[in-house]
């Protein structure tokens, strides 16, 4: 999977590296800002009220 992505990034190695870092940052942002906030209330870790 990762080698497939690496092969399909255009440009020389340095440019590929930059693109790969941007991809990682994008995935992290998606998880932290969208996915996790959506998942969190559906998981039973943080129910603090009674009833």
């Amino acid at each position: 999977m990762y080698s497939w992505i690496w092969r399909h990034l255009p440009g020389p190695r340095a440019v590929k590296l930059v693109q790969a870092l941007v991809l990682v940052a994008a995935v992290l942002a998606l998880l932290m800002l969208v996915v996790f906030p959506w998942v969190e209330p559906r998981l039973p870790f943080n129910a603090v009220t009674t009833g």
């Binding site: 999977m1 990762y2 080698s3 992290l28 998880l31 932290m32 996790f36 998942v39 969190e40 209330p41 039973p44 870790f45 943080n46 129910a47 603090v48 009220t49 009674t50 009833g51």
Partner: protein
Amino acid sequence: MSHAQSPVRGWPPSGRRGNPVRTAIRGLGELLVTAGLVVMLFVFYEVYVTNWFSAAKQREATAQLNDTWRNGRGLVDRPIKGAGIAKMYVPAFGPDFVFTVLQGTDQDVLAIGPGHYQGTASPGQLGNFAVAGHRVGQGSPFNSLDLLSSCDAIVVETSDHWYVYRVLPLQGESAGWAAGKGTQPQCRGVEPLPGRYANVAGKTIVLPTQVDVIAPVPGQPGRAPTNRLITLTTCHPQFSAQQRLIVHGVLVASYRKVEGQRPVELTAGA
């Protein structure tokens, strides 16, 4: 040496895209490692990142409440959900422990700070001022609730008053209270409550279904209150939602606010 070639036949692999089985298994492995990383990231999010988000929201709520108190506008008897209603100080958790308490206990409100159960008493009033707060993440205001001892102060500041509550005697402390812990200076005004309050201890662990801990008389919904209590609820054990940790306190003092003055309970420590 007659065999000068590689000791393993076919190794190292010659082509990049060789065996499809190997490719599939490697892909699966990468997926599983990625899934593991995502789970670890979620823990990081829950324990740290939510705190950063909540800190910003809490700062904003506090600024709004200060503004409301300063100009007197927006002060209402029935605050809307999510509005700041009071500030809560727990000197036992350090001099900088202060949170703006908001109206309501929905998830989005609790992400900003501790939430006041709608329908329970207001600060300082007869009945039960009940507040829920997160224990892990989201600013975790009630992270250390289990460390509170009897007689620890919980100070609530409203637009015009300071209310000083103190944690009630814990289970097992009531016997011999008057000659024992009750003699300590910070316990003035704290004693096992009589009558219909006889079963209300300073700290209990209950099931999530036990809503009656926030009743005007805890444990006895429908009965008329004769005391001014505070009740804090959070999850228990940490990282779990199996039970709830409950802290009950009783009002021991209230002061009308004077510009620039703080109650002795805050300035002299716990």
